[in-house]
């Protein structure tokens, strides 16, 4: 036989089958329960917002990759994840044109300007959401529930001192953004990802426990703060975006705890009733530093 027919590459010669696309699509699928419960609670409009966001993200990504003369990699699923996560931060009555703008900002300023997938320092969905919060502050805080304008549980607590029942918070029967309502369905999806090994459990563990302990120590109701608002979905889905979080085990703890501290500062002492989005964006900034200073001790190394 002709010896030049043999393939010569460096070892290893076998690979584990998991791909980036598989991870991204699994994340998308794990959000299905949350999307379904949003549709159940808020009606068909929830689905329209999600679809608008996903399609806008895909289109923006496509156009940008074409402009940058790059291979079009829509099938890697990353723009779909961004689209879903962005939609879940929107209130149910958000005008669709705002959703489109948010999607364009998320993909361009949040991702493509840095070089695309893998290079962005900030969670793209939260960049889109932050833009809308700044540009359309009224629209992003107008929540309807059962056909009427309503205040979110965190708002009720902040303005009126009124508590919402734990069960309603847990199951999602409350006003809020599409994804921030049901604690149960968020945990269900996250459990699937943790089982598959696609989710760094240390970040949500650090973030949630920090909020719980700090609010408790500071004389507030820790269970309410855990279940209300976007803490759980933020901790399990937004704070665990692989691209924008630390790679070391210790780094993930620091990231989670840091984000938890920011949440408590903003919720208890800030002007906003909710602080999850900013706390994650703030911690995104610290990732290069965290990675640098949390290098694990290598086997046989005396530090």
């Amino acid at each position: 036989m002709q010896s030049q027919d043999l393939v010569v590459t460096s070892s290893p010669h076998i690979r584990e089958k998991t791909s980036v696309a598989e991870i991204m699509w699994t994340v998308s699928l794990s959000l299905l329960p949350v999307m379904l419960v949003a549709t159940y609670v808020f009606g068909w409009r929830a689905l329209v917002i999600i679809a608008t966001s996903v399609v806008s993200c895909l289109l923006t990504e496509y156009i940008f990759l074409k402009i940058r003369n790059k291979e079009v990699t829509l099938t890697d699923g990353s723009a779909v994840v961004t689209g879903i996560l962005l939609a879940l931060t929107m209130p149910p009555e958000m005008p669709l044109w705002v959703v489109v703008i948010a999607a364009v900002v998320a993909i361009t300023l949040g991702k493509q300007v840095f070089g695309g997938l893998g290079y962005n320092p900030f969670n793209p969905a939260l960049v889109g959401r932050a833009f809308v919060t700044a540009a359309y502050p009224v629209l992003i805080t107008t929540f309807t529930f059962d056909g009427q304008t309503a205040a979110t549980p965190l708002n009720l607590k902040m303005m009126e001192g009124e508590m919402t029942a734990y069960w309603d918070l847990f199951i999602g029967n409350v006003p809020g953004s599409l994804g921030e309502t049901s604690a149960f369905f968020v945990l269900l999806g996250a459990a699937i990802l943790i089982y598959k090994g696609y989710l760094n459990w240390r970040i949500p563990a650090g973030m949630v426990s920090t909020v719980f302990i700090l609010t408790w120590v500071l004389g507030h109701n820790p269970v309410f703060h855990l279940l209300a608002g976007s803490l759980l979905i933020g901790a399990f889905y937004y704070a665990t975006d692989m691209v924008t979080t630390p790679v070391t085990a210790l780094g993930r703890w620091i990231f989670g705890i840091g984000a938890g501290i920011f949440v408590v500062i903003i919720r208890l002492y800030g002007g906003y009733p909710e602080g999850v989005m900013y706390s994650i964006l703030l911690m995104n900034m610290t990732v290069p530093l965290i990675n640098k200073f949390t290098r694990p001790r290598s086997l046989g190394e005396v530090k």
């Binding site: 393939v7 290893p12 584990e16 695309g116």
Partner: protein, 443 residues
């Protein structure tokens, strides 16, 4: 019975069922053998025979006065037909001695000793090991007598025999443990005697219960030798991983097992040591596994060093179809070959053939910081960052991040969902750091 292991690591599909039940067989005498002069880590050898000379089986072919080196011997009697450069299975070209094997095989072994290990001077054992040209047969090919020469300021308490065989597909160590368990124990006793180690441990992964049983019965009469079970996990057979698992000691960065009172030898090496002392037999043949979905009859064979790989492929029934890759060693750390004409050398533990239609091509995607490589690196390094530092040739950062501690096991590349060639770049980074440090020392 407790099962020990190290932290992290991966679980590739082992595929050992292809060959693990096949007894070690011999093959027909090859038409030509090629003995490379560099089959060890260390100083180069000089030939002591000439073209046209008749040599006996076991006769010395090349040697040196340097301490860190292992001589080579004729693995078959015959006529030296050439001393020339040939393609090396390790890459590049090396000087080699070619022999046309004779029909009648006469041995030329050195003086043997029938004595019990306790009755032989440690120095005599080391001399026999040096004379026999024994090197680490797990693949590293470091001269064994050097390992056995313990510096005066060090003390060895434990001699470990590495029977983990964590590389997927390979089964030769498994077969040796089943078929030559007595010899392994004899070899271990010589190794303990040579190093002054008070105890011996044979470490075996728990996917080889029959080998564990065989060695337990072979060691039953020796109170200073135990058989320990380790978890089946890659790279459990890495020296540092095995030491961590069995004794919970860490080999210091840049150090050797002897720094923590340990010497580790492969099962095949132990057998070679027993043969050298008891029979005066140099390291002239070795067992190996020929396997993979691309070969008709996977099996285990005992072959003379220098046998062309093509001859072993023929003995195993040839290729199933079009071969894609022919790898010497296992799929995690083995070297893909450009030609099947290369010879078997002392460190060749297997021939793995992957068929062309099953080869997957990999197109690396950008790193998404998933940290799977960080989570599984058995040396607790940060492969994703080392890769980027190597690409940017940032040698200071590479050193700060302990790149030289990488054992090149390939687990990071194996697990990467973006299919990045992480260990490939890390090797390049290591080479760059080594080169810089050498030139700084020299200048």
């Amino acid at each position: 019975m407790s099962i020990s292991t190290f932290k992290k690591g991966v679980h590739p599909p082992y595929n050992k069922q292809l060959s693990q039940s096949k007894q070690i067989a011999t093959i027909d005498q090859p038409e030509e053998i090629t003995i490379p002069l560099q089959q060890h880590i260390g100083a180069p050898l000089k030939p002591v025979v000439e073209k046209g000379e008749e040599v006996k089986r076991g006769q010395l072919l090349a040697d040196t006065d340097s301490f860190v080196a292992a001589p080579v011997h004729a693995s078959l009697a015959g006529k030296v037909t050439a001393i020339e450069k040939v393609p090396s299975p390790q890459g590049g070209r090396v000087l080699a001695i070619k022999i046309d094997p004779a029909e009648e095989q006469k041995n030329d072994f050195f003086a043997a000793s029938e004595k019990e290990p306790e009755d032989i001077a440690p120095d005599k054992i080391r001399q026999a090991v040096r004379k026999a040209g024994i090197v680490g047969m797990g693949g590293a090919m470091f001269p064994t007598h050097v390992k056995l020469s313990v510096p005066e300021d060090k003390e060895i308490d434990t001699l470990i025999i590495n029977g983990a065989e964590c590389e997927p597909y390979l089964t030769i160590d498994h077969r040796l443990m089943l078929e030559k368990s007595e010899k392994i124990v004899t070899g271990l006793r010589f190794l303990m005697r040579a190093t002054g180690a008070e105890r011996g441990i044979i470490g075996i992964e728990d996917n080889k219960p029959d080998a564990i049983k065989a060695l337990k019965s072979a060691t039953a009469n020796f109170t200073d030798i135990t058989v320990e079970i380790t978890e089946t996990k890659y790279p459990q057979g890495g020296e540092k991983m095995l030491i961590k698992a069995l004794l919970d000691r860490e080999v210091p960065v840049g150090g050797l097992p002897l720094d923590v009172g340990i010497v580790v030898n492969n099962v095949a090496t132990a057998i070679a040591v027993a043969a050298a002392v008891n029979e005066g037999k140099p390291l002239i043949d070795r067992g190996l596994t020929i396997t993979g979905e691309g070969i008709n009859n996977p099996g285990n064979y005992q072959v003379p060093i220098g046998t062309p790989v093509a001859k072993i492929i023929e003995a195993a029934g040839g290729f199933t179809g079009e071969p894609g890759k022919v790898i010497l060693g296992g799929p995690m750390m083995g070297q893909a070959q450009a030609s099947i004409d290369v010879p078997v050398i002392k460190g060749t533990s297997g021939v793995l053939v992957l068929p062309k239609d099953k080869l997957e091509s990999y197109s690396p995607a950008p790193c998404i910081n998933c940290a799977r490589c960080v989570d599984i690196c058995p040396m607790s390094l940060v492969p994703t960052r080392l890769e980027k530092m190597a690409q940017k040739e940032n040698l200071d950062l590479l050193e700060e991040f302990q790149v030289m501690n990488c054992i090149e096991c390939g687990s990071c590349s194996y697990i990467c969902p973006a299919q990045r060639p992480l260990v490939h770049y890390i090797r390049i980074g290591k080479a760059a750091v080594t080169a810089r440090n050498k030139s700084e020392q020299g200048g």
